[in-house]
Symmetry: D2
Subunit: 199 residues, 4 copies
């Protein structure tokens, strides 16, 4: 837990920007992640647009828990690429060792941000490796994406879960159902914004 | 994943209300959960108020993932109290069997909603059983709270994590730091509210 | 944690037998689960036999953590089939509601028993629904398998992870590599058996 | 998943030895971890010996999943100590940032190896920081143990869960109960050992 007295101070914006920057440096665009989301969700929501998919990917990436996992994973990939990890960790990450599962563990901390309904989508794209995931898995490039590969799939799965939650809220509003809990949260948030309180 | 075509339709408000109702029926007040939050957090935030604690407990309880776990856990407690589970599940839940850990698993799905920083707080209150948790653990009442006990601790731990995230945002605003990502999300949400979009 | 003084006493054999019995009652055979394992693993181990797959499914099912999840999940399915849960939990489980994810949470506690490398396999079979999973997902039978469906996929994924660990041990033995840690555990276990110690 | 055809070959013994070596290099002894286990378990098992605690810690450390987490966590600590991570990850790990939870995530992958019953014990020692954990948390030494601190608590919690499972098996044997499932696994393992098969 944070202790308010220590001089070090977290700069949340720097963490968010580093996340975006490092994804870009490692060659992954939001558009590509959004394409995975579209692939996973168009069957359920035929009218889903790429703009919505991109927006939901951005919202997932705005979560601190997700940023921590993205930065830690990319850092380990980069260090493995530079050969700077100690053996045998170097070997395991460099070779995407099947019995090394810490990459999956970080990926799961991302999926979990929108709950367990994303587990299935994560496993599915991680197995089939569509789109950007195929490129990240190409072992002939000299680049190492042992972590990023799983992380990108996890961000897409989390964005899919977020869409499922939002679409349900939309549906209930259209049916004229009384405000759902998420609306209550929003109302609370809106009033707190009006009072310029941080929450 | 939801299929938009089936006639059954989820009523989110009913789920939210059932959650609140069943907590009440089982004798747990928001005030009591908020007291656990205060116990966990006052050391870090001396100015924390009970109103803030209650508000954060409410926000945790407004999450669908949390509602699902609360309802499922209480249902199993109630059925065990009525002796309606099949042996040996009946015995294990009735006796809060040490090697039965599904209650901890549901509790963890609640803690996870605000990320891994809540793990420690959950374990701490679950071990020490302060306040309401002591009452829920009293095995002499005839009531069975094998699940609810862990669930209440988990809601308190999740609310503590939520507070830690919000307090950091406050601190950064006071320091005049550029808007953090959570603010960005809020701005997006506010503008969508103005356009009466559901997200 | 277990308190040695309470009169109630867990009977592990009864838990193990109930697990096997209830899987059978709900129409799932070990053979069918083993077929999912074969589907997931034959690509990696062309010589894998059905006997090995069945053996690994049995080993997964011998774990207490797995038995707890299987029994709890099947109990909830059965109660939903009998209409005995309180609304709205009854509706959500009866209709395999997309935003209800407690079934996935239980499934994950099973996959986790052999570590994170099973996450991908679980998601994959849960999405594609091959073999027995297709039957469990048939919503026209009147039976409810909201939990069992995910549980069976999870047992198959866990057995796949177990095979991956064992095959690596075999490979290292063939290469004449010094004994791996799992061997050390086995040696310890063997000597303890000789001394008729419980571990 | 491992592909049997690639030239890289995992050396499990090297992974196990590196785990033990790095714990030692970072100043943590098995004895110290065992003392945490004793602290957590002596209340439940008054006759528990330090030898048993050490043995159970060793068994936890023989698990691949645990070794992966230990090595990855220590690697990140060491790199942070050397100032070799990119900002802002460097800052967050160096300062044990409260909103950075990847250390807890790795710790949980360790606890999970013996199931959810260890969650509580982990949170408890992580909050109270007894024994070795107090030393690892001393921020005045120049050493960084952001990960190791949580990892050591997690190994102790997992060893506690292992003990709970074994003690139950002992109890049932003493009561003359028919062989429990773990015995079945052991019998299978013993016969496979007699046939010099790897499993």
């Amino acid at each position: 837990m944070t202790d308010a007295k220590i001089p070090y101070s977290l700069n949340s914006k720097a963490v968010a920007e580093a996340t975006r920057l490092w994804l870009q440096k490692r060659g992954v665009t939001l558009q590509e992640i959004a394409e995975l989301v579209m692939l996973l969700q168009k069957k359920y929501y035929p009218n889903l647009t790429m703009e919505e998919c991109i927006h939901n990917v951005e919202m997932v990436l705005s979560k601190r828990e997700v940023q921590n996992a993205v930065l830690t994973g990319i850092q380990l990939d980069v260090l493995a690429e530079e050969g700077k990890l100690f053996a045998p960790l170097q070997d395991m990450i460099e070779n995407d060792e099947g019995l090394y599962g810490v990459d999956e563990i970080l990926a799961f901390s991302i999926v979990n941000v929108y709950g367990s309904i994303g587990f299935t989508n994560y496993g599915y794209v991680d197995k089939l490796k569509p789109g950007v995931l195929e490129r990240l898995n190409d072992k002939t490039t000299g680049q190492i994406h042992t972590y990023l590969d799983d992380i990108v799939g996890a961000v897409a799965a989390a964005a899919s879960s977020r869409i499922a939650h939002r679409k349900q809220a939309e549906r209930e509003q259209e049916l004229g159902l009384p405000h759902a809990p998420e609306d209550a949260e929003e109302a609370a948030r809106r009033s707190s914004l009006e009072n310029t309180e941080p929450e």
